[in-house]
Protein backbone atom coordinates (compact mmCIF):
# COMPACT_ATOMS: atom_id res chain seq x y z
CA UNK A 1 0.00 0.00 0.00
CA UNK A 2 2.83 2.40 0.94
CA UNK A 3 4.62 1.47 -2.25
CA UNK A 4 1.43 2.15 -4.23
CA UNK A 5 1.05 5.61 -2.67
CA UNK A 6 4.74 6.37 -3.27
CA UNK A 7 4.43 5.33 -6.90
CA UNK A 8 1.41 7.59 -7.42
CA UNK A 9 3.15 10.47 -5.64
CA UNK A 10 6.28 10.05 -7.79
CA UNK A 11 4.25 10.00 -10.99
CA UNK A 12 2.06 12.90 -9.85
CA UNK A 13 5.03 15.22 -9.38
CA UNK A 14 6.61 14.09 -12.65
CA UNK A 15 3.44 14.42 -14.75
CA UNK A 16 2.60 17.77 -13.18
CA UNK A 17 5.83 19.36 -14.48
CA UNK A 18 4.64 20.43 -17.97
CA UNK A 19 1.27 21.47 -16.54
CA UNK A 20 2.94 23.61 -13.86
CA UNK A 21 5.12 25.31 -16.48
CA UNK A 22 2.15 25.91 -18.78
CA UNK A 23 0.03 27.12 -15.89
CA UNK A 24 2.59 29.75 -14.88
CA UNK A 25 2.91 30.85 -18.50
CA UNK A 26 -0.84 31.15 -19.03
CA UNK A 27 -1.29 32.91 -15.68
CA UNK A 28 1.21 35.57 -16.77
CA UNK A 29 -0.58 36.04 -20.10
CA UNK A 30 -4.02 36.28 -18.54
CA UNK A 31 -2.92 38.54 -15.67
CA UNK A 32 -1.74 40.95 -18.37
CA UNK A 33 -5.23 40.80 -19.90
CA UNK A 34 -4.70 38.33 -22.76
CA UNK A 35 -6.26 34.86 -22.97
CA UNK A 36 -3.68 32.79 -24.85
CA UNK A 37 -5.44 29.81 -26.46
CA UNK A 38 -2.25 29.36 -28.46
CA UNK A 39 -0.97 27.34 -25.49
CA UNK A 40 -1.91 23.93 -26.92
CA UNK A 41 0.00 24.66 -30.14
CA UNK A 42 2.89 26.32 -28.30
CA UNK A 43 3.37 23.22 -26.12
CA UNK A 44 3.09 21.03 -29.23
CA UNK A 45 5.66 23.05 -31.17
CA UNK A 46 7.96 23.15 -28.14
CA UNK A 47 7.76 19.37 -27.96
CA UNK A 48 8.45 18.90 -31.67
CA UNK A 49 11.14 21.52 -32.30
CA UNK A 50 12.84 20.66 -29.02
CA UNK A 51 12.96 17.03 -30.07
CA UNK A 52 14.00 17.65 -33.69
CA UNK A 53 16.81 20.01 -32.64
CA UNK A 54 18.08 17.58 -30.00
CA UNK A 55 17.91 14.77 -32.58
CA UNK A 56 19.89 16.65 -35.24
CA UNK A 57 22.45 18.32 -32.97
CA UNK A 58 22.77 15.46 -30.47
CA UNK A 59 22.46 18.01 -27.68
CA UNK A 60 19.52 18.14 -25.28
CA UNK A 61 20.50 21.68 -24.31
CA UNK A 62 20.15 22.80 -27.92
CA UNK A 63 16.73 21.16 -27.91
CA UNK A 64 15.76 23.14 -24.83
CA UNK A 65 17.08 26.30 -26.45
CA UNK A 66 14.99 25.60 -29.57
CA UNK A 67 11.90 25.26 -27.37
CA UNK A 68 12.72 28.61 -25.75
CA UNK A 69 12.92 30.23 -29.20
CA UNK A 70 9.64 28.60 -30.26
CA UNK A 71 8.03 30.04 -27.13
CA UNK A 72 9.37 33.54 -27.82
CA UNK A 73 8.12 33.44 -31.43
CA UNK A 74 4.72 31.98 -30.50
CA UNK A 75 4.22 34.48 -27.67
CA UNK A 76 5.44 37.33 -29.88
CA UNK A 77 3.04 36.36 -32.67
CA UNK A 78 0.15 36.16 -30.22
CA UNK A 79 1.12 39.59 -28.88
CA UNK A 80 1.34 41.05 -32.39
CA UNK A 81 -2.17 39.83 -33.21
CA UNK A 82 -3.90 40.71 -29.96
CA UNK A 83 -1.88 43.62 -28.56
CA UNK A 84 -0.64 45.48 -31.63
CA UNK A 85 -3.61 44.74 -33.89
CA UNK A 86 -6.25 44.16 -31.21
CA UNK A 87 -7.64 41.07 -32.96
CA UNK A 88 -10.14 38.74 -31.28
CA UNK A 89 -8.21 36.81 -28.63
CA UNK A 90 -10.19 33.58 -28.83
CA UNK A 91 -9.77 33.24 -32.59
CA UNK A 92 -6.14 34.45 -32.55
CA UNK A 93 -5.21 31.82 -29.99
CA UNK A 94 -7.04 28.99 -31.72
CA UNK A 95 -5.57 30.02 -35.06
CA UNK A 96 -2.10 30.07 -33.53
CA UNK A 97 -2.66 26.59 -32.11
CA UNK A 98 -3.85 25.26 -35.49
CA UNK A 99 -0.86 26.88 -37.20
CA UNK A 100 1.74 25.58 -34.74
CA UNK A 101 0.33 22.04 -34.79
CA UNK A 102 0.27 22.17 -38.60
CA UNK A 103 3.85 23.44 -38.80
CA UNK A 104 5.07 20.84 -36.29
CA UNK A 105 3.40 17.94 -38.10
CA UNK A 106 4.65 19.30 -41.42
CA UNK A 107 8.18 19.43 -40.00
CA UNK A 108 7.81 15.95 -38.54
CA UNK A 109 6.74 14.61 -41.92
CA UNK A 110 9.56 16.38 -43.73
CA UNK A 111 12.31 15.52 -41.25
CA UNK A 112 11.27 12.07 -40.11
CA UNK A 113 8.94 10.85 -42.86
CA UNK A 114 5.79 11.02 -40.75
CA UNK A 115 6.89 8.77 -37.91
CA UNK A 116 6.40 5.26 -39.29
CA UNK A 117 9.66 4.39 -37.58
CA UNK A 118 9.90 6.18 -34.27
CA UNK A 119 13.08 8.24 -33.89
CA UNK A 120 14.48 8.28 -30.40
CA UNK A 121 16.99 10.35 -28.46
CA UNK A 122 18.62 9.64 -25.11
CA UNK A 123 16.48 11.85 -22.89
CA UNK A 124 17.45 13.60 -19.68
CA UNK A 125 17.95 11.01 -16.91
CA UNK A 126 16.22 10.97 -13.56
CA UNK A 127 18.25 12.56 -10.80
CA UNK A 128 18.07 12.02 -7.07
CA UNK A 129 20.30 14.65 -5.43
CA UNK A 130 19.33 13.65 -1.90
CA UNK A 131 19.69 9.92 -2.49
CA UNK A 132 16.27 9.25 -0.97
CA UNK A 133 14.73 7.46 -3.97
CA UNK A 134 10.97 7.12 -4.58
CA UNK A 135 9.26 10.48 -5.06
CA UNK A 136 12.64 12.22 -4.94
CA UNK A 137 13.86 10.49 -8.08
CA UNK A 138 12.77 13.06 -10.67
CA UNK A 139 14.01 14.89 -13.77
CA UNK A 140 16.19 17.93 -13.14
CA UNK A 141 13.58 20.03 -14.97
CA UNK A 142 10.96 18.88 -12.44
CA UNK A 143 13.18 19.98 -9.55
CA UNK A 144 13.89 23.31 -11.23
CA UNK A 145 10.21 23.85 -12.03
CA UNK A 146 8.86 23.26 -8.54
CA UNK A 147 11.76 24.58 -6.46
CA UNK A 148 12.78 27.53 -8.62
CA UNK A 149 10.30 28.51 -11.35
CA UNK A 150 7.10 28.30 -9.30
CA UNK A 151 8.29 30.36 -6.31
CA UNK A 152 10.16 32.71 -8.63
CA UNK A 153 7.08 33.19 -10.82
CA UNK A 154 5.04 34.06 -7.71
CA UNK A 155 7.71 36.43 -6.43
CA UNK A 156 8.11 38.21 -9.76
CA UNK A 157 4.35 38.55 -10.23
CA UNK A 158 3.57 39.75 -6.71
CA UNK A 159 6.73 41.45 -5.48
CA UNK A 160 8.54 43.08 -8.38
CA UNK A 161 7.92 46.12 -10.53
CA UNK A 162 7.53 43.92 -13.64
CA UNK A 163 4.89 41.82 -11.88
CA UNK A 164 3.06 44.92 -10.72
CA UNK A 165 3.12 46.21 -14.29
CA UNK A 166 1.61 42.93 -15.57
CA UNK A 167 -1.17 43.04 -12.99
CA UNK A 168 -1.78 46.73 -13.61
CA UNK A 169 -2.16 46.45 -17.39
CA UNK A 170 -4.39 43.42 -16.89
CA UNK A 171 -6.70 45.17 -14.45
CA UNK A 172 -6.83 48.75 -15.66
CA UNK A 173 -4.68 49.57 -18.68
CA UNK A 174 -5.79 53.22 -18.80
CA UNK A 175 -4.61 53.82 -15.25
CA UNK A 176 -1.41 51.86 -15.85
CA UNK A 177 -0.72 53.89 -18.98
CA UNK A 178 -1.36 57.12 -17.09
CA UNK A 179 1.12 55.95 -14.45
CA UNK A 180 3.76 55.60 -17.14
CA UNK A 181 3.65 51.82 -17.65
CA UNK A 182 3.79 50.77 -21.30
CA UNK A 183 0.75 48.54 -21.82
CA UNK A 184 2.08 47.20 -25.12
CA UNK A 185 5.56 46.38 -23.88
CA UNK A 186 4.29 44.78 -20.68
CA UNK A 187 1.80 42.58 -22.52
CA UNK A 188 4.41 41.57 -25.10
CA UNK A 189 6.78 40.62 -22.29
CA UNK A 190 4.11 38.66 -20.39
CA UNK A 191 3.06 36.76 -23.52
CA UNK A 192 6.64 36.00 -24.55
CA UNK A 193 7.75 34.87 -21.09
CA UNK A 194 4.54 32.83 -20.92
CA UNK A 195 5.20 31.35 -24.36
CA UNK A 196 8.69 30.22 -23.28
CA UNK A 197 7.28 28.44 -20.21
CA UNK A 198 4.59 26.72 -22.31
CA UNK A 199 7.04 25.58 -24.99
CA UNK A 200 9.53 24.28 -22.41
CA UNK A 201 6.62 22.46 -20.77
CA UNK A 202 5.94 20.80 -24.12
CA UNK A 203 9.61 19.97 -24.58
CA UNK A 204 9.55 18.19 -21.21
CA UNK A 205 7.65 15.35 -22.90
CA UNK A 206 10.15 14.79 -25.70
CA UNK A 207 13.42 15.73 -23.99
CA UNK A 208 12.78 14.15 -20.59
CA UNK A 209 9.74 11.94 -20.15
CA UNK A 210 9.55 10.12 -23.49
CA UNK A 211 12.67 10.70 -25.60
CA UNK A 212 10.54 10.65 -28.75
CA UNK A 213 7.94 12.72 -30.57
CA UNK A 214 4.53 11.26 -31.36
CA UNK A 215 1.49 12.89 -32.96
CA UNK A 216 -1.10 14.30 -30.55
CA UNK A 217 1.60 14.30 -27.85
CA UNK A 218 0.01 17.19 -25.90
CA UNK A 219 -3.49 15.65 -26.14
CA UNK A 220 -5.44 18.63 -24.83
CA UNK A 221 -3.17 19.41 -21.87
CA UNK A 222 -3.07 23.03 -23.03
CA UNK A 223 -6.84 23.19 -22.60
CA UNK A 224 -6.44 21.62 -19.16
CA UNK A 225 -4.06 24.45 -18.28
CA UNK A 226 -6.62 27.06 -19.34
CA UNK A 227 -9.03 25.43 -16.88
CA UNK A 228 -6.39 25.23 -14.13
CA UNK A 229 -5.69 28.94 -14.39
CA UNK A 230 -9.36 29.71 -13.80
CA UNK A 231 -9.42 27.10 -11.02
CA UNK A 232 -6.40 28.86 -9.53
CA UNK A 233 -8.14 32.24 -9.78
CA UNK A 234 -5.05 33.62 -11.49
CA UNK A 235 -2.82 32.90 -8.50
CA UNK A 236 0.37 30.91 -9.03
CA UNK A 237 0.13 28.65 -5.97
CA UNK A 238 -3.51 27.72 -6.42
CA UNK A 239 -3.04 27.05 -10.13
CA UNK A 240 -0.01 24.84 -9.49
CA UNK A 241 -1.99 23.00 -6.82
CA UNK A 242 -4.60 22.42 -9.50
CA UNK A 243 -1.89 21.04 -11.79
CA UNK A 244 -0.89 18.60 -9.04
CA UNK A 245 -4.52 17.59 -8.54
CA UNK A 246 -5.03 16.90 -12.25
CA UNK A 247 -1.74 15.05 -12.36
CA UNK A 248 -2.72 12.93 -9.35
CA UNK A 249 -5.92 11.79 -11.07
CA UNK A 250 -4.00 11.25 -14.32
CA UNK A 251 -1.30 9.21 -12.56
CA UNK A 252 -3.88 7.23 -10.61
CA UNK A 253 -5.71 6.18 -13.79
CA UNK A 254 -2.37 5.23 -15.42
CA UNK A 255 -1.70 2.98 -12.46
CA UNK A 256 -5.24 1.55 -12.37
CA UNK A 257 -4.82 0.35 -15.95
CA UNK A 258 -2.31 -2.23 -14.76
CA UNK A 259 -4.02 -2.94 -11.44
CA UNK A 260 -5.81 -6.33 -11.25
CA UNK A 261 -9.58 -5.94 -11.31
CA UNK A 262 -9.44 -2.71 -13.32
CA UNK A 263 -8.20 -4.13 -16.59
CA UNK A 264 -11.74 -4.72 -17.86
CA UNK A 265 -12.46 -0.99 -17.76
CA UNK A 266 -11.57 0.46 -21.18
CA UNK A 267 -8.40 2.50 -20.75
CA UNK A 268 -9.89 5.29 -22.87
CA UNK A 269 -12.53 5.88 -20.22
CA UNK A 270 -9.87 6.04 -17.50
CA UNK A 271 -7.92 8.46 -19.69
CA UNK A 272 -11.03 10.66 -19.98
CA UNK A 273 -11.34 10.81 -16.18
CA UNK A 274 -8.80 13.61 -15.53
CA UNK A 275 -10.55 15.91 -18.05
CA UNK A 276 -13.87 15.29 -16.35
CA UNK A 277 -12.31 15.90 -12.93
CA UNK A 278 -11.05 19.29 -14.14
CA UNK A 279 -14.53 20.22 -15.38
CA UNK A 280 -15.99 19.09 -12.05
CA UNK A 281 -13.37 21.10 -10.15
CA UNK A 282 -14.27 24.18 -12.20
CA UNK A 283 -17.97 23.58 -11.64
CA UNK A 284 -17.45 23.40 -7.88
CA UNK A 285 -14.94 26.20 -7.44
CA UNK A 286 -15.24 28.41 -10.49
CA UNK A 287 -18.63 29.96 -9.81
CA UNK A 288 -18.61 33.59 -10.87
CA UNK A 289 -14.89 34.09 -10.29
CA UNK A 290 -13.47 37.57 -10.80
CA UNK A 291 -11.56 37.68 -14.07
CA UNK A 292 -8.72 40.18 -14.56
CA UNK A 293 -10.37 43.53 -15.25
CA UNK A 294 -9.07 43.97 -18.79
CA UNK A 295 -9.39 40.27 -19.74
CA UNK A 296 -10.08 39.88 -23.50
CA UNK A 297 -10.03 43.65 -24.02
CA UNK A 298 -7.52 45.09 -26.46
CA UNK A 299 -6.04 48.39 -25.32
CA UNK A 300 -5.79 51.48 -27.36
CA UNK A 301 -4.91 54.99 -26.39
CA UNK A 302 -7.80 57.36 -26.91
Amino acid sequence: MIAFVFDILTATIRNATPLALGTIGETYAERSGVLNLGIEGTMYAGAFFGFATAFWTGSLEMGLLAAVLVGLVAGGLMAFLTVTLGANQHVSGLGLTLLLIGVSEFGNRLAFGGGQSLRRIDPYPLVDPLGLGGPFSQYALTYVTFLAFVPLAWWVLMRTHFGLAIRAVGEDPEAADAAGISVFRTRYAALMVGGVLMAVGGAFFTLAALGSFTLDIIAGRGWVVIALVIFGRWGIWRAVSGALLFSAVYSLQLRLRVTPGWQDVPFELLLALPYLVVIAALALSGRNVAYPGAYLKPYRRT
Partner: protein
Amino acid sequence: MVIPVALVITFAFTAVFVVAAGADPFDAFYRFLVAPLTSPVTLLEVLVSATPILFTGAAVAIAFRAGYYNIGAEGQLLAGAIAAAGLGMVVGALPSLVALPIMVAGGAMAGAAWALLPALLRVRSGIDEVVTTLLLNPVALLLVNALLNGPWRDPETGFPESAPIAASAELPQLVARSRVHLGLVLALAIIAVAWFIITRTSAGLKLRAVGSSPRAATFAGLDVNGTLLRAALVSGAIAGMAGVSEVAGIQDRLTGGLSAGAGYTGIVVATLGGLTMPGVAAAGLLLGDLRVGAGSAARALDIPSQVGEIVQATLLLVTIAALAIISRHRSTQAGR
Protein backbone atom coordinates in the same frame (compact mmCIF):
# COMPACT_ATOMS: atom_id res chain seq x y z
CA MET B 1 -12.90 41.99 -50.46
CA VAL B 2 -10.92 41.01 -47.36
CA ILE B 3 -10.73 37.31 -48.25
CA PRO B 4 -9.04 37.60 -51.69
CA VAL B 5 -6.41 39.95 -50.23
CA ALA B 6 -5.98 37.62 -47.25
CA LEU B 7 -5.52 34.70 -49.65
CA VAL B 8 -2.70 36.48 -51.49
CA ILE B 9 -0.95 37.40 -48.22
CA THR B 10 -1.45 33.85 -46.94
CA PHE B 11 0.17 32.43 -50.05
CA ALA B 12 3.13 34.77 -49.65
CA PHE B 13 3.60 33.65 -46.03
CA THR B 14 3.15 29.95 -46.65
CA ALA B 15 5.28 29.78 -49.82
CA VAL B 16 8.27 29.17 -47.55
CA PHE B 17 6.80 25.82 -46.46
CA VAL B 18 6.12 24.75 -50.04
CA VAL B 19 9.68 25.66 -51.01
CA ALA B 20 11.02 23.83 -47.95
CA ALA B 21 9.17 20.74 -49.14
CA GLY B 22 10.87 21.09 -52.53
CA ALA B 23 7.97 22.25 -54.71
CA ASP B 24 7.25 25.32 -56.80
CA PRO B 25 4.91 27.57 -54.80
CA PHE B 26 3.00 28.90 -57.83
CA ASP B 27 2.36 25.39 -59.06
CA ALA B 28 1.32 24.33 -55.56
CA PHE B 29 -1.06 27.25 -55.03
CA TYR B 30 -2.63 26.68 -58.44
CA ARG B 31 -3.29 23.11 -57.34
CA PHE B 32 -4.60 24.21 -53.93
CA LEU B 33 -7.09 26.74 -55.15
CA VAL B 34 -7.83 26.51 -58.88
CA ALA B 35 -7.19 22.94 -60.01
CA PRO B 36 -10.04 21.41 -57.95
CA LEU B 37 -12.50 23.66 -59.79
CA THR B 38 -11.37 22.65 -63.29
CA SER B 39 -12.83 19.16 -63.59
CA PRO B 40 -16.33 17.88 -62.77
CA VAL B 41 -14.93 15.01 -60.68
CA THR B 42 -12.84 17.22 -58.40
CA LEU B 43 -15.54 19.90 -58.31
CA LEU B 44 -17.92 17.32 -56.86
CA GLU B 45 -15.23 16.33 -54.34
CA VAL B 46 -15.07 19.98 -53.26
CA LEU B 47 -18.77 19.74 -52.38
CA VAL B 48 -18.14 16.51 -50.46
CA SER B 49 -15.28 18.08 -48.55
CA ALA B 50 -17.31 21.24 -47.84
CA THR B 51 -20.32 19.35 -46.44
CA PRO B 52 -19.16 18.73 -42.84
CA ILE B 53 -17.57 22.17 -42.49
CA LEU B 54 -20.74 23.88 -43.75
CA PHE B 55 -22.51 22.27 -40.79
CA THR B 56 -19.80 23.07 -38.26
CA GLY B 57 -19.26 26.56 -39.70
CA ALA B 58 -22.97 27.33 -39.27
CA ALA B 59 -22.91 25.80 -35.79
CA VAL B 60 -19.99 27.94 -34.66
CA ALA B 61 -21.32 31.11 -36.31
CA ILE B 62 -24.70 30.84 -34.56
CA ALA B 63 -23.05 30.41 -31.15
CA PHE B 64 -20.47 33.16 -31.71
CA ARG B 65 -23.21 35.56 -32.90
CA ALA B 66 -24.84 35.12 -29.49
CA GLY B 67 -21.50 35.76 -27.79
CA TYR B 68 -21.28 32.11 -26.74
CA TYR B 69 -17.82 30.78 -27.57
CA ASN B 70 -18.60 27.18 -28.44
CA ILE B 71 -15.20 25.68 -29.28
CA GLY B 72 -16.62 22.21 -28.83
CA ALA B 73 -17.99 21.54 -32.33
CA GLU B 74 -15.40 18.79 -32.71
CA GLY B 75 -16.74 16.88 -29.70
CA GLN B 76 -20.36 17.58 -30.66
CA LEU B 77 -19.70 16.27 -34.16
CA LEU B 78 -18.28 13.07 -32.71
CA ALA B 79 -21.27 12.70 -30.36
CA GLY B 80 -23.56 12.98 -33.40
CA ALA B 81 -21.44 10.44 -35.25
CA ILE B 82 -21.65 7.97 -32.36
CA ALA B 83 -25.45 8.36 -32.27
CA ALA B 84 -25.69 7.92 -36.06
CA ALA B 85 -23.57 4.77 -36.04
CA GLY B 86 -25.54 3.33 -33.12
CA LEU B 87 -28.93 4.15 -34.65
CA GLY B 88 -27.77 3.05 -38.10
CA MET B 89 -27.14 -0.46 -36.79
CA VAL B 90 -30.70 -0.86 -35.46
CA VAL B 91 -32.99 0.94 -37.95
CA GLY B 92 -32.43 -1.60 -40.75
CA ALA B 93 -36.04 -2.80 -40.74
CA LEU B 94 -37.38 0.71 -41.36
CA PRO B 95 -37.75 2.35 -44.79
CA SER B 96 -35.31 5.19 -45.56
CA LEU B 97 -38.07 7.75 -45.28
CA VAL B 98 -38.41 6.88 -41.60
CA ALA B 99 -34.84 5.81 -40.85
CA LEU B 100 -33.12 8.96 -42.15
CA PRO B 101 -35.12 11.46 -40.06
CA ILE B 102 -34.44 9.26 -37.01
CA MET B 103 -30.71 9.32 -37.80
CA VAL B 104 -30.61 13.10 -38.25
CA ALA B 105 -32.74 13.81 -35.19
CA GLY B 106 -30.74 11.37 -33.08
CA GLY B 107 -27.43 12.91 -34.13
CA ALA B 108 -28.72 16.42 -33.51
CA MET B 109 -29.91 15.43 -30.05
CA ALA B 110 -26.57 13.81 -29.27
CA GLY B 111 -24.70 16.94 -30.38
CA ALA B 112 -26.99 19.13 -28.30
CA ALA B 113 -26.57 16.79 -25.33
CA TRP B 114 -22.77 17.07 -25.63
CA ALA B 115 -23.16 20.87 -25.64
CA LEU B 116 -25.58 20.90 -22.68
CA LEU B 117 -23.17 20.66 -19.72
CA PRO B 118 -20.93 23.60 -20.72
CA ALA B 119 -24.03 25.67 -21.56
CA LEU B 120 -25.65 24.96 -18.18
CA LEU B 121 -22.41 25.70 -16.32
CA ARG B 122 -22.19 29.00 -18.19
CA VAL B 123 -25.72 30.24 -17.58
CA ARG B 124 -26.12 28.83 -14.05
CA SER B 125 -22.65 29.42 -12.58
CA GLY B 126 -20.92 31.80 -14.97
CA ILE B 127 -18.24 29.25 -15.85
CA ASP B 128 -16.39 30.12 -19.05
CA GLU B 129 -17.73 27.90 -21.85
CA VAL B 130 -14.50 28.17 -23.84
CA VAL B 131 -12.60 25.89 -21.50
CA THR B 132 -15.40 23.40 -20.82
CA THR B 133 -16.32 22.96 -24.50
CA LEU B 134 -12.63 22.56 -25.36
CA LEU B 135 -12.06 19.95 -22.64
CA LEU B 136 -14.97 17.84 -23.84
CA ASN B 137 -13.37 17.44 -27.31
CA PRO B 138 -10.66 14.97 -26.22
CA VAL B 139 -13.27 13.22 -24.05
CA ALA B 140 -15.51 12.66 -27.10
CA LEU B 141 -12.58 11.27 -29.10
CA LEU B 142 -11.69 8.92 -26.22
CA LEU B 143 -15.31 7.75 -26.13
CA VAL B 144 -15.19 7.00 -29.87
CA ASN B 145 -11.95 5.06 -29.42
CA ALA B 146 -13.33 3.18 -26.42
CA LEU B 147 -16.31 2.06 -28.52
CA LEU B 148 -14.18 1.13 -31.53
CA ASN B 149 -11.61 -0.81 -29.51
CA GLY B 150 -14.33 -2.38 -27.38
CA PRO B 151 -17.98 -3.25 -27.97
CA TRP B 152 -18.27 -1.80 -31.49
CA ARG B 153 -15.11 -3.25 -33.00
CA ASP B 154 -16.02 -4.72 -36.40
CA PRO B 155 -16.67 -8.41 -35.64
CA GLU B 156 -15.78 -9.49 -39.19
CA THR B 157 -12.59 -7.56 -39.94
CA GLY B 158 -11.42 -6.94 -36.37
CA PHE B 159 -10.52 -3.37 -37.41
CA PRO B 160 -11.26 -0.56 -34.93
CA GLU B 161 -14.34 0.46 -36.94
CA SER B 162 -17.99 -0.17 -36.20
CA ALA B 163 -20.03 -2.59 -38.28
CA PRO B 164 -21.59 -0.91 -41.35
CA ILE B 165 -24.90 0.86 -40.82
CA ALA B 166 -28.06 -0.44 -42.53
CA ALA B 167 -28.54 0.46 -46.21
CA SER B 168 -31.78 2.30 -45.43
CA ALA B 169 -29.89 4.51 -42.96
CA GLU B 170 -27.40 5.74 -45.56
CA LEU B 171 -27.83 9.26 -46.93
CA PRO B 172 -28.55 8.82 -50.65
CA GLN B 173 -26.01 9.82 -53.24
CA LEU B 174 -27.03 12.91 -55.24
CA VAL B 175 -24.85 12.61 -58.34
CA ALA B 176 -24.04 9.29 -59.97
CA ARG B 177 -20.41 8.10 -59.62
CA SER B 178 -19.61 10.74 -57.01
CA ARG B 179 -19.60 10.89 -53.21
CA VAL B 180 -21.91 13.92 -53.05
CA HIS B 181 -24.78 12.97 -50.77
CA LEU B 182 -27.97 14.35 -49.27
CA GLY B 183 -25.97 15.79 -46.35
CA LEU B 184 -24.94 18.69 -48.60
CA VAL B 185 -28.57 19.64 -49.21
CA LEU B 186 -29.28 19.33 -45.50
CA ALA B 187 -26.33 21.58 -44.66
CA LEU B 188 -27.42 24.24 -47.16
CA ALA B 189 -31.02 24.01 -45.94
CA ILE B 190 -29.85 24.54 -42.34
CA ILE B 191 -27.81 27.53 -43.43
CA ALA B 192 -30.82 29.00 -45.28
CA VAL B 193 -33.14 28.49 -42.31
CA ALA B 194 -30.53 29.91 -39.91
CA TRP B 195 -30.12 32.93 -42.19
CA PHE B 196 -33.87 33.53 -42.15
CA ILE B 197 -34.12 33.13 -38.37
CA ILE B 198 -31.13 35.34 -37.58
CA THR B 199 -32.00 38.17 -39.96
CA ARG B 200 -35.79 38.07 -40.19
CA THR B 201 -37.30 36.93 -36.88
CA SER B 202 -37.51 38.26 -33.34
CA ALA B 203 -35.57 35.24 -32.06
CA GLY B 204 -32.73 36.23 -34.39
CA LEU B 205 -32.91 39.83 -33.25
CA LYS B 206 -32.61 38.65 -29.63
CA LEU B 207 -29.64 36.48 -30.54
CA ARG B 208 -27.84 39.40 -32.18
CA ALA B 209 -28.74 41.78 -29.35
CA VAL B 210 -27.40 39.41 -26.70
CA GLY B 211 -24.26 38.85 -28.76
CA SER B 212 -23.49 42.50 -29.40
CA SER B 213 -24.13 43.68 -25.83
CA PRO B 214 -25.31 41.34 -23.08
CA ARG B 215 -25.62 44.27 -20.66
CA ALA B 216 -27.83 46.30 -22.96
CA ALA B 217 -29.87 43.17 -23.70
CA THR B 218 -30.36 42.62 -19.96
CA PHE B 219 -31.52 46.21 -19.46
CA ALA B 220 -33.87 45.80 -22.42
CA GLY B 221 -35.49 42.95 -20.52
CA LEU B 222 -34.27 40.17 -22.81
CA ASP B 223 -33.77 36.70 -21.41
CA VAL B 224 -30.00 36.63 -21.93
CA ASN B 225 -29.35 33.26 -20.30
CA GLY B 226 -32.22 31.59 -22.14
CA THR B 227 -30.96 32.96 -25.45
CA LEU B 228 -27.41 31.76 -24.72
CA LEU B 229 -28.68 28.32 -23.74
CA ARG B 230 -30.78 28.00 -26.90
CA ALA B 231 -27.92 29.21 -29.11
CA ALA B 232 -25.55 26.72 -27.48
CA LEU B 233 -27.92 23.79 -27.93
CA VAL B 234 -28.81 24.67 -31.52
CA SER B 235 -25.09 25.03 -32.24
CA GLY B 236 -24.40 21.61 -30.71
CA ALA B 237 -27.29 20.05 -32.62
CA ILE B 238 -26.03 21.35 -35.98
CA ALA B 239 -22.48 20.16 -35.19
CA GLY B 240 -24.00 16.79 -34.29
CA MET B 241 -25.62 16.65 -37.73
CA ALA B 242 -22.17 17.04 -39.26
CA GLY B 243 -21.34 13.75 -37.56
CA VAL B 244 -24.48 12.12 -38.96
CA SER B 245 -23.61 13.43 -42.40
CA GLU B 246 -20.12 11.91 -42.31
CA VAL B 247 -21.25 8.56 -40.89
CA ALA B 248 -24.36 8.11 -43.05
CA GLY B 249 -23.10 9.89 -46.15
CA ILE B 250 -19.43 8.93 -46.49
CA GLN B 251 -18.08 6.33 -44.08
CA ASP B 252 -21.21 4.15 -43.55
CA ARG B 253 -19.75 3.36 -40.13
CA LEU B 254 -18.02 4.97 -37.16
CA THR B 255 -14.28 5.37 -37.67
CA GLY B 256 -11.59 6.98 -35.52
CA GLY B 257 -10.46 9.62 -38.00
CA LEU B 258 -13.93 10.49 -39.23
CA SER B 259 -13.90 14.13 -38.20
CA ALA B 260 -10.57 15.16 -39.77
CA GLY B 261 -10.69 18.28 -37.61
CA ALA B 262 -14.00 19.49 -39.11
CA GLY B 263 -15.04 20.87 -35.72
CA TYR B 264 -12.03 23.16 -35.53
CA THR B 265 -12.27 24.02 -39.22
CA GLY B 266 -15.82 25.19 -38.44
CA ILE B 267 -14.27 28.01 -36.41
CA VAL B 268 -12.19 28.99 -39.44
CA VAL B 269 -15.26 28.87 -41.71
CA ALA B 270 -17.39 30.92 -39.31
CA THR B 271 -14.68 33.55 -38.89
CA LEU B 272 -13.89 33.86 -42.61
CA GLY B 273 -17.64 34.07 -43.23
CA GLY B 274 -17.90 37.04 -40.88
CA LEU B 275 -20.37 35.02 -38.72
CA THR B 276 -23.09 35.50 -41.39
CA MET B 277 -24.83 32.58 -43.07
CA PRO B 278 -24.10 33.58 -46.69
CA GLY B 279 -20.51 34.10 -45.54
CA VAL B 280 -20.43 30.63 -43.97
CA ALA B 281 -21.71 29.09 -47.22
CA ALA B 282 -19.02 30.85 -49.26
CA ALA B 283 -16.20 30.17 -46.78
CA GLY B 284 -17.26 26.52 -46.44
CA LEU B 285 -16.97 26.07 -50.20
CA LEU B 286 -13.62 27.91 -50.26
CA LEU B 287 -12.16 25.69 -47.54
CA GLY B 288 -13.65 22.62 -49.19
CA ASP B 289 -11.77 23.68 -52.31
CA LEU B 290 -8.56 24.13 -50.26
CA ARG B 291 -8.96 20.76 -48.55
CA VAL B 292 -9.35 18.92 -51.85
CA GLY B 293 -6.58 20.98 -53.45
CA ALA B 294 -4.15 20.39 -50.60
CA GLY B 295 -4.79 16.66 -50.76
CA SER B 296 -4.19 16.37 -54.49
CA ALA B 297 -1.24 18.81 -54.45
CA ALA B 298 0.36 16.74 -51.70
CA ARG B 299 0.06 13.57 -53.80
CA ALA B 300 1.09 15.16 -57.10
CA LEU B 301 4.05 17.18 -55.77
CA ASP B 302 5.04 14.78 -52.99
CA ILE B 303 4.81 17.41 -50.26
CA PRO B 304 3.36 16.80 -46.77
CA SER B 305 -0.42 17.21 -46.79
CA GLN B 306 -0.10 19.29 -43.61
CA VAL B 307 0.61 22.26 -45.90
CA GLY B 308 -3.18 22.40 -46.21
CA GLU B 309 -3.55 22.89 -42.45
CA ILE B 310 -0.81 25.52 -42.44
CA VAL B 311 -2.52 27.45 -45.26
CA GLN B 312 -5.88 27.21 -43.50
CA ALA B 313 -4.54 28.42 -40.14
CA THR B 314 -2.53 31.23 -41.77
CA LEU B 315 -5.59 32.33 -43.75
CA LEU B 316 -7.53 32.49 -40.47
CA LEU B 317 -4.86 34.59 -38.74
CA VAL B 318 -4.36 36.91 -41.70
CA THR B 319 -8.13 37.43 -41.99
CA ILE B 320 -8.66 38.34 -38.33
CA ALA B 321 -5.58 40.57 -38.48
CA ALA B 322 -7.05 42.34 -41.53
CA LEU B 323 -10.46 42.66 -39.87
CA ALA B 324 -8.83 44.13 -36.75
CA ILE B 325 -6.88 46.65 -38.84
CA ILE B 326 -10.01 47.66 -40.77
CA SER B 327 -12.09 48.09 -37.63
CA ARG B 328 -9.37 50.22 -36.00
CA HIS B 329 -9.13 52.34 -39.10
CA ARG B 330 -12.91 52.83 -39.13
CA SER B 331 -13.05 53.77 -35.45
CA THR B 332 -10.21 56.25 -35.96
CA GLN B 333 -12.13 57.83 -38.81
CA ALA B 334 -15.31 57.93 -36.72
CA GLY B 335 -13.43 59.49 -33.83
CA ARG B 336 -12.39 62.47 -35.89
